[in-house]
């Protein structure tokens, strides 16, 4: 049997962080601040500082003043997560909202501040505070990480996690530049690789391969049934038109936002179905009238600009990018319109890695930070623009915990035979000549996950059908082929995406009720919210023989401040809960 060193390049660190976006960088900085002696390594498939979702943001983020935290917690509980929230974590995040921004500010990020040097918080469309945040924040985080001595390897992707008994002790990886095979060994491993977005959500990418790797390593998944959100788009340019959801008109000039979703503060399911109906009954095309003075547009800014009081919301980096895109559109004959024809696009997010308040997964030695565990954290306090807040806040807690764990543990043992098997599997697509390229598989998966009957009009039958179709693609995987290192990585991303879809549909099949507002789990056959039977988290795990197991964990509502009307504490919980 070959030695580990004969199989590839072995790289050892105290802490391995997979993903060089905002969450991964923040976790690395906090780990170093906790214990500067630790060797912290970031491995990123693209370029650290430019990767992840934060560099595509820049329209604003949640900035809760102390006075508005409780209002946010109540809103997020009653409407956002509809009582599936971990209200303790939600409140903690609310309280840390400004702190997270102050950290970004201290690193050099562009955030509007007053003459007193304090971050300015403006009322948002939901009534909570928000502020501007330029999209180059991740570059400043990278600078800070490098100052702390964090090591970075770019253009290198990791795949399977390596285990010593129950504990994760590393991962295998490959250079996307030259195919070098790596064996990463570490005392503590975190992944901050984003949610699985199924390659259908515009700039928000994320293939779910690390989520799938965590699942395969035994990590539990939670709240996977909440994976769909809708946004309005300009049908000509394909760009999102934020803040127009109260201003949608049909061809007869009738305001259909009022007709189907009066005063809705977000793009919600009744409006989407209403729009669909209008088009099907011949009252399309639909358009958004951006000339109307509307409080949401006023706050968001229909030119994506003002925060109010003359303060710009969009920073210079984001502004330059937008100007370039406007120039591109002009070249293609697409100009800024005041009454654009609108349609609806879907934003898919499978981010179900179940973690505790330190972002520890259920597998020892493994953390999931940022949007990889967005729903798995169960705080369910999502509002537009708070992905950055989640990245920083989750990493603020994960970083020191990673450092403590790494300080208290030795390197684990890596099994060379296991590595050899994983290596062979990784490179197998290069040896196939007649198969289909990953692109074909991505298109097939996208066709399924974005289908209305699977992502929003869910039924028992449609979920079983979706799972069967995903399984069909899975059965074809032995035929997937690659012609270079890039495609080798894509083959594994296809596999990861299939696992994420399977997790999302299986959880959707299990939850026999409807719940949620913006991220709606809608069961046509169970249209009501059933607080009597479904105040439960659905937890999925890979069981014996690879079979997915399902567990139903009661949400500890009895410990929380906000409870549904008529809530009765389950008798079996006793007096102590």
């Amino acid at each position: 049997m070959k030695k580990l060193e004969e199989l590839g390049t072995v790289i050892t660190s105290d802490i391995l962080i997979i993903g060089g976006g905002l969450a991964g960088l923040t976790a690395s900085i906090f780990a170093k601040e906790k214990n500067p002696e630790l060797d912290v390594l970031i491995v990123e498939s693209a370029t650290t500082g430019r990767a992840g979702r934060a560099p595509k943001a820049g329209h604003g983020t949640l900035a809760l003043s102390k006075q508005s935290v409780e209002a946010y917690v109540e809103w997020a509980t009653r409407f956002g997560g509809q009582y599936l929230n971990d209200q303790d974590l939600l409140r903690q995040y609310g309280n840390e909202s400004l702190q997270a921004l102050e950290i970004l500010d201290s690193w050099g990020a562009t955030i509007p501040k007053g003459r007193d040097g304090k971050i300015i918080s403006f009322p948002s469309d939901l009534g909570f505070g928000m502020t501007g945040l330029d999209n180059d924040m991740t570059m400043f985080a990278k600078d800070r990480a490098l100052e702390h001595g964090v090591r970075i390897i770019d253009k290198t992707q990791t795949f399977d996690f390596l285990k010593d008994g129950d504990r994760v002790v590393g991962a295998i990886g490959m250079s996307l530049l030259d195919g070098t095979f790596y064996i990463f060994k570490a005392k503590a491993v975190a992944f901050a690789t984003g949610a699985c977005a199924y390659k259908v959500s515009g700039l928000f990418r994320g293939y779910g391969d690390a989520i799938a790797a965590a699942y395969n390593a035994g990590a539990e998944m939670r709240n996977a049934e909440f994976f769909t959100q809708f946004d309005m788009i300009n049908r000509r340019s394909g760009e999102k038109v934020y803040g127009c959801h109260q201003l949608i008109f049909n061809k007869n000039g009738e305001n259909i936002s009022d007709k189907y979703a009066l005063d809705a503060a977000e793009v919600t399911y009744p409006l989407i179905l209403g729009m669909k109906k209008e088009i099907e009954e011949g009252r399309g095309p639909l358009y958004a009238d951006l000339t109307i003075e509307n409080y949401i547009l006023k706050i968001i800014g229909n030119k994506n600009d003002d925060l109010g009081d003359g303060v710009r919301r969009i920073g210079p980096s984001k502004r330059a990018w937008q100007e370039h895109i406007v120039k591109k559109n002009k070249k293609l004959g697409i100009v800024q319109e005041t009454k654009p024809e609108v349609s609806v696009t879907v934003t898919m997010t499978t981010s179900p890695v179940s973690v505790d308040h330190q972002m520890r997964t259920s597998v020892p030695g493994l953390w999931a930070v940022g949007s990889a565990s967005f729903w798995g954290q169960a705080y369910m306090g999502w509002v537009h623009g708070d992905g950055t807040g989640n990245a920083v806040k989750s990493a603020m807690h994960a970083g020191p915990d990673l450092a403590e764990y790494a300080s208290a543990h030795e390197q684990g043992k890596v099994n060379a035979e296991e590595v050899a098997t994983l290596k062979e599997k990784l490179f197998a697509p290069l040896n196939r000549e007649d198969g289909e390229l990953p692109k074909c598989y991505f298109d097939r998966i996208a066709d399924i996950v974005t289908d209305f009957k699977y992502c929003i009009l869910k039924t028992d039958e449609s979920m079983k059908e979706a799972l069967a179709r995903i399984e069909e693609i899975h059965a074809d995987l032995p035929g997937i082929c690659a012609t270079d290192w890039h495609e080798v990585s894509k083959c594994r991303e296809v596999e990861g995406m299939l696992t994420c879809a399977q997790i999302a549909f299986r959880a959707s099949l299990e939850r026999k009720e409807s719940r949620g507002l913006v991220w709606k789990h809608n069961r046509v056959d169970y249209p009501e919210t059933d607080n009597k039977n479904w105040l439960k988290w659905i937890v999925l795990k890979k069981g014996d023989g690879g079979v997915m197991t399902v567990r139903f964990d009661p949400v500890p509502i009895w410990n929380y401040k906000y409870q549904p009307e008529g809530y009765v504490k389950p008798a079996q919980m006793g007096t102590d809960g």
């Binding site: 693209a46 515009g202 990418r205 340019s237 088009i279 330059a320 990018w321 697409i334 692109k439 890039h486």
Partner: protein, 91 residues
């Protein structure tokens, strides 16, 4: 939901490429590879382009043009949408 097949065409003026490799650096989808033989950037995987246009913005030789044939987003109601698409197609 109707899927919209994405078609992105990326051209690089190899005469103007200065070899800065910024395209590769800023691209988070690893669309670009370095063509050692011709000493020039190459858009090897345009199928993975997310249409952020940052390669164009940061290119020091100003030699990249991302041409979109069809947008890559998914449209809930129409078969085709986005840049350069016939908008008259019915739902």
């Amino acid at each position: 939901m109707k899927t919209v097949s994405k078609q992105v065409d990326i051209t690089i003026d190899s005469e103007k490429c200065v070899g800065c490799r910024m395209c590769s650096k800023v691209c988070f989808e690893n669309v670009y590879q370095w063509d050692e033989e011709n000493k020039c950037a190459k858009a090897k995987h345009p199928e993975d382009c997310s249409l952020c246009f940052q390669c164009e913005m940061y290119c020091l030789g100003n030699c990249i043009e991302v041409k979109t044939v069809t947008g890559q987003f998914f449209d809930a109601f129409y078969r085709k949408s986005g840049r350069g698409v016939d908008q008259n197609e019915k739902a």
